[in-house]
Symmetry: C2
Subunit: 133 residues, 2 copies
Amino acid sequence: MASLDDPGVRALLDKPNHAVVSTLGDDGSIHSTVVWVDVQDGRLAVNSAVGRKWPTDLERDPTIAVIVYDEDNPYDYVEVRGRATGTTDRAREHIDRLAKKYLGADEYPFHQPGEQRITYVVEADRVRHQKQR
Amino acid sequence: MASLDDPGVRALLDKPNHAVVSTLGDDGSIHSTVVWVDVQDGRLAVNSAVGRKWPTDLERDPTIAVIVYDEDNPYDYVEVRGRATGTTDRAREHIDRLAKKYLGADEYPFHQPGEQRITYVVEADRVRHQKQR
């Protein structure tokens, strides 16, 4: 199994490449969305606001898949399958760090009044690094 | 609900943006991979080889999600949730058309000996077009 510490995987995740997060709806459907991602203590970390669709999915069923491809070479990608755990603790600092990575901003510029941020970290069952070309 | 015929969605799908396909493993995990995509008779169409992981998933459970984001603006994306139906009929012509779209090649250059191509078309339960910026 690949690891998030592999240099090729680190390179994918250090770049501001976007991630696709997939979760399970209560009707058994798969829901996918595009998000920001980084690595916290060796695990993928994604961020949302409490009450949105995919965080609600994860509260019911922690099954998650996250895939990140190199936007300069989509044939180079990492897929992580596992279970997500959510916490609101320091989730606002996390979205600010992501805003730095993706926007170059010192602070996340899209906060909504009353919004509670939440970070999900992924306990990986499988890490797959594919690089075809 | 958005439609694949919406001009903004068509623009996303006419460009050689890659797709992330997600399927369900027999252990309930979600599997995601990066693929080529086009539209056939108003439905998303993706292509693989018989026996690979995600086609095998789909033969057991047709649940699928496909998401395509604009590689020049990841905040513009379309997500399609639904069920996939596979056919080997004209699947080789289909991969050649995809090679034209993504590589500018007249023929898919990566055929493996004995490989049987398969096309999955997606019957959409939901089409969601997000364009944040």
